[in-house]
Symmetry: C2
Subunit: 97 residues, 2 copies
C-alpha cells in the first residue's frame, strides 16, 4: 500500500493566469527535488462540474514518514508560500491507497 | 494523458462506522461494474493533518466521455444516493493527469 496526499484549492477572485502558472512551475520542480514522491500530479479543474474547486495536487508516497519529508521539505514550503496568499479555500486528505 | 476525478467528503457529525463501511462497500463494487474506470482509489483520511476532510474518492478514466459514463452510471448513482445524506461538505475537481 502507499499513502496519497490530496489537496484541492479554490483560488481567490481575480487570480491571474500568470499566478497560476507560477504555482504550476513551482510544483513541477518538486519531484526532482523530493525523491520521496513516487507519483506527483497537479493541474487546474477542467470545468466539467458545477461548484468544483479550481486546482488539485496529488502526491503519492510510500508512507507517513515519506509524507512528512514531502510536507516539511524546504522546496515544498517555498511553493506553499506562493500558494497560500492565493487561496480562498483548501480541502485536503491523506489516504491509504 | 488521462482524466482524474477527485471528490473529498466531510461527513456529518454522528456518522457511524457501519455507515462508512456501507459507502466503502458500494464503492468497492464499482470497478467491476464500470470498465471505464482505469484506476479507482478511495478511503478514510488518516488523521495526519488538522482540518482535513474525512474521505476521498479518486477515479482515473481516459477522458471526458469515460468520466461521463462513470458519473451517470446507475451503479454509481446508487452509491451517491447512500453518500449524499451523510455529507456535511464535498470538494471535487476533474483534472488532466
Amino acid at each position: 500500500m502507499a499513502l496519497r496526499h490530496i489537496a484541492l484549492f479554490r483560488w481567490i477572485d481575480g487570480i491571474t493566469p500568470e499566478q497560476v502558472a507560477a504555482v504550476q512551475e513551482g510544483l513541477a520542480a518538486l519531484p526532482a527535488a523530493i525523491p520521496e514522491l513516487d507519483a506527483y500530479a497537479f493541474g487546474p479543474d477542467l470545468g466539467l462540474g458545477t461548484g468544483n474547486f479550481d486546482f488539485a495536487v496529488v502526491a503519492d508516497v510510500a508512507d507517513e514518514a515519506a509524507y512528512a519529508v514531502y510536507r516539511d521539505h524546504p522546496r515544498h514550503q517555498e511553493v506553499l508560500a506562493v500558494i497560500r496568499p492565493l487561496l480562498a479555500d483548501r480541502a485536503a486528505v491523506q489516504v491509504r491507497i
